[in-house]
């Protein structure tokens, strides 16, 4: 066997000439920012109307093929929370004439990686494969996406696996806190108030018929797009895709469920989730944020970078670098088709829990005041100048294209991204902060050792305080 890799070496001799000491009195000036030139997206259509978005990228002999389906956990019917997630997970547990074990063996033998998963907004089957083996892998992918068999034995196995995952989540404050926070902010009936996986009750009740009906209703050619990125040629890959996916016929589909906009919180409520013996308290603070379609998207990116979206952000500087209460503090807007949560959070050493909460609120209040020009420029540059690094791998490219499709972004979205960030003004940031960061109405969830933290937390007088067991906080 000959080696795959040839390495070229130019071993320069040691350079011995004397060097002038460099001028360290100020940092070197940066040259003009480089322009990112993205390879073009070629849009095609299969004979059944399935859109195909193709980017040729030839650096590494790999191909990424994602079949994106516009249906996700947001489409879970009431009483069936978790069905989208379980349907996606079951796709490769039996498909066409292949068993779960055969699928795994075939895929791995090709050196491929085949993943099936869903988010709140979409589901996908994603294949990463050496280019030479693409043609061999696509029929397996098509079986998995289009012809899953949902065997009863595999459902029973995955059901137990997921019930065990829910059980294990209760051991970990870093999982309990976000689950409890989602429930406090969105409630038990709104889809965003329960984990994508569902609950013990829904998991126990799912039948193969539930999965079949979700798949046949939602996995439709009209809701699907193929995203292909990598070491292929468009004219060569299209016939392969047509052969595997072109015969996929539309059935009587079901329109997407619009996730309703959750009612906003109106007053601060503190929930202490008791986890005795914890050495840290996991804290989440926030409320209902914004949908991905928000007109304030770019201002919010800049705002959150300043507040808690970067290492030098105010929250991390205060809680980690200045006060050492935590290994790291951050904040984010989780944007989905409907408004997801905004939250700030950290793992705080138990005896500093109340002090840390005070600092969280200090920063959440202070962000409403005008930001300095220097801070604004730093945040905008961090986002804009770092943008090219998000397009390095074929998976990076494919996931950005998925984002364009799911959120219906304009064709020039990425071309205009940097300019849109740079156009954000201090006024826009302040206005966004006033609208979307109102600490007086935030929910506070603290998963930690109640007997060590309750007195201090109550002493802050943030709002009503209730103490919950893990069961009460995230459902039994």
């Amino acid at each position: 066997m000959k080696a795959l890799i040839s390495v070229f070496i130019v071993l320069a001799t040691t350079v011995g000439f004397a060097q002038q000491a460099p001028n360290r009195s100020k940092p070197p000036a940066l040259g003009p920012a480089p322009q990112l030139t993205l390879p073009p997206i070629q849009k095609r259509t299969l004979s059944n109307g399935v859109g195909v978005w193709i980017v040729e990228a030839h650096k590494v002999p790999l191909v990424q093929v994602n079949l994106l389906v516009q249906a996700g956990s947001g489409d879970d019917p009431a009483g069936k929370f978790g069905v989208a997630s379980l349907t996606a997970a079951m796709l490769d547990e039996g498909a066409g004439s292949r068993s779960a074990l055969q699928i795994a063996d075939d895929v791995e033998f090709l050196g491929a990686d085949l993943g099936t998963s869903s988010s709140f907004d979409a589901s996908a089957v994603r294949l990463n494969v050496p280019a030479a083996r693409l043609a061999a892998a696509l029929p397996i992918m098509a079986d998995v996406a289009l012809r899953p068999t949902f065997p009863q034995a595999e459902l029973d196995r995955l059901r137990q696996e997921r019930l065990t995952t829910l059980l294990q989540a209760r051991d970990d404050a870093a999982q309990v806190a976000p689950l409890a926070f989602g429930r406090v902010v969105f409630g038990g009936t709104h889809r965003y108030g329960t984990s994508a996986m569902g609950t013990q009750a829904t998991l126990k009740a799912f039948t193969t018929a539930d999965l079949r009906s979700f798949h046949s209703a939602m996995y439709q050619p009209s809701a699907a797009t193929l995203v292909v990125v990598g070491d292929i040629r468009t004219d060569a890959v299209l016939p392969l895709l047509e052969k595997q996916f072109g015969g996929w016929k539309a059935a009587a589909g079901t329109p997407r469920t619009q996730v309703t906009l959750a009612p906003q919180l109106t007053q601060t409520q503190v929930s202490i989730v008791d986890m005795p013996g914890s050495e840290q308290s996991q804290v989440r603070i926030g409320w209902v944020g914004v949908p991905r379609s928000t007109p304030d998207y770019f201002a919010l990116q800049v705002l959150n970078t300043i507040l808690g979206g970067s290492f030098t952000s105010r929250l991390n500087q205060n809680l980690r670098e200045k006060n050492q209460y935590t290994y790291g503090a951050s904040s984010r807007f989780d944007m989905r088709l409907s408004a997801g949560p905004f939250f700030a959070g950290a793992g705080i050493q138990t005896d500093k829990t109340a002090d840390a909460l005070r600092e969280f609120f200090n920063e959440l209040n202070a962000i409403g005041k005008p930001v300095s020009a220097e801070e604004l420029t730093k945040a905008k540059n961090y986002i804009a100048l770092g943008f090219p690094s998000e397009f390095e791998t074929i998976q990076d490219l494919a996931s950005h294209i998925e984002e364009m499709i799911v959120y219906k972004l304009p064709d020039d979205y990425f071309a205009r991204y940097v300019a849109n960030i740079q156009a954000v003004t201090a006024d826009a940031v302040q206005k966004a902060a006033a609208t979307y960061i109102q600490p007086g109405k935030f929910a506070v969830v603290v998963a930690g050792d109640r007997k060590a933290i309750e007195t201090g937390v109550r002493g802050l007088n943030l709002g009503t305080v209730r103490v919950l067991t893990v069961d009460e906080a995230i459902g039994s």
Binding site: Q19, P22, E108, P130, T164, L167, E279, Q280
Partner: protein, 452 residues
């Protein structure tokens, strides 16, 4: 232990790269051309050009890790890593991160038993800023290191430890494993994150001593990979790093012999719902004969639904929630671990019995040719995937430094590949017999605490 994220980094050195298969079509060659030179002060420099996106990775390895620590100062190499971000003579405190973020850069560092690495990923126009910052902290860190700096990062690291170990389910078990596997005098026996009391004890004097001894150009290697001009970059490296004086030669760590001679068994309790079993062995160090074979053994045991242990414990018997097997390779020695978590109603003893039965099967008969080929094909593809990214932990820049550090030179890709391509099912069987004996290993069980 990394500065930003609680990711276990011990395995970075053990990323298995490359293996050849009877592919349907001959895979095209991947080229990793590089230029290597050394400054008079001993700094090793490797440049690699990749113009896919206008991004540059600046990657520095200091050849010091927790194995170099002295008794009573465990965790110091990692604590020191944190101090490297807090400013140097010409970079006021806080400015390291501010300057980089304002340039659109991300940066991080991580420490393991053997080395400490620093990564800066930035737009190509900002390369010289990274070189200024890296060279300033290599040359002048101590000019900006007041005692309170040590105190502040000491407390951050203690919170890193709480978040990653004390407050994480099964976190304390991972600290216990190394203590059980290695003799007390072996530097791998203590945790990279360090003992709390040792973190408390670290002094300003320790910082001075450690910097002068280990943070020298002759004990470091700099890789710059990405959208660069090779000649201009070489000139910039000479400009910024040449003034740093060479330090004393660093003595290699001389560890005591390590060998398990019997079964060591221990039980811990933790605030968890399910029992977990760990089986562990001492195995050949990184790149020594047997190291790659044990990577392959781990794939045969636990990669994918058809792997021996996953299929038996998780898929067929459904007595485990998860099972994993892995070779963690280090410069002074490696460990092979099998970890399995019981399903509700099942015990660690049941897991151990099933695992031992499956390993016994492989002692009696080698795996099928297809099982081995499947694993090798996966390894081959993972090699391609590792070629996509220049920066971050495990990107091409980091990998070039990893090979250089291991002593094979940065062009070790082909040799590394050959370690796998030559392996056969019989090699897998032989490695299991030789390195994973049932009567010389550690067995650690974590049981749920009684609920109060």
């Amino acid at each position: 232990m990394s500065r930003r994220f609680a990711v276990p980094v011990l395995m970075l050195l053990a990323v298995p790269l490359g293996a050849q298969s009877p592919a349907p079509a001959a895979p095209p060659a991947i080229q990793v051309p590089f230029r290597q030179f050394q400054l008079p002060n001993g700094l090793n420099v490797i440049l690699h050009q990749d113009k896919t996106v206008p991004v540059v990775a600046v990657n520095v390895w200091y050849h010091v890790g927790s194995a170099n620590e002295k008794p009573g100062r465990t965790g110091f190499a990692h604590l020191f890593e944190h101090l490297m971000f807090e400013g140097s003579k010409n970079v006021p405190e806080g400015q390291f991160d501010i300057l980089l973020e304002a340039a659109g850069a991300n940066n991080n560092g991580s420490t393991n038993n053997d080395r400490t690495n620093y990564v800066i990923d930035l737009p190509s126009n900002a390369l010289e800023l990274a070189l200024f910052l890296e060279s300033d902290r290599m040359a002048y860190l101590l000019d900006a290191m007041p005692p309170e700096q040590v105190n502040s990062q000491r407390d951050v690291v203690k919170n890193e430890r709480r978040q990653s170990y004390e407050n994480r389910p099964y976190g304390m078990a991972s600290l216990e494993l190394d203590k059980m596997l290695w003799p007390a005098t072996h530097p791998y026996s203590w945790p990279v994150i360090g003992h709390m009391e040792d973190l408390t004890a670290a002094t300003q004097g320790d910082v001075q001593e450690f910097f002068k001894k280990y943070y020298t150009p002759n004990n470091a290697s700099l890789v710059i990979a990405g959208d660069i001009d090779l000649d201009r970059t070489q000139g910039l490296v000479q400009k910024w790093f040449s003034e740093i004086p060479r330090g004393p030669a660093v003595e290699p760590v001389a560890p005591p012999a390590a060998m398990l001679t019997a079964v060591k068994r221990q039980t811990l309790t933790d605030q968890v719902s399910l029992p977990r079993l760990y089986l562990g062995w001492l195995t050949p160090r990184l790149f020594a004969p047997g190291d790659a074979t044990l990577d392959l053994v781990s794939s045969v045991l636990s990669d994918g639904k058809n792997s021996r242990l996953y299929k038996r414990l998780v898929y067929d018997d459904q007595i485990a929630q998860d099972v994993s097997a892995f070779q963690s390779s280090g410069a002074l020695g490696s460990t092979f671990l099998i970890v399995a978590t019981a399903r509700r109603g099942h015990t660690a003893e049941e897991l151990q019995k099933a695992i031992d039965e499956e390993i016994d099967k492989l002692r009696r008969a080698p795996p099928d040719a297809r099982e081995v080929q499947r694993a090798l094909n996966q390894v081959e593809a993972s090699f391609y995937r590792a070629m996509e990214r220049v920066g971050g932990f495990g990107g091409k820049a980091d990998q070039l430094n990893s090979y250089y550090f291991a002593g094979g030179g940065p062009d070790f890709f082909a040799e590394d590949l050959a370690r796998y391509t030559s392996l056969t099912p019989a090699d897998v069987q032989a490695a299991i017999i030789k390195w994973l004996p049932r009567d010389r290993r550690i067995e650690l069980v974590v049981l749920p605490e009684d609920k109060k």
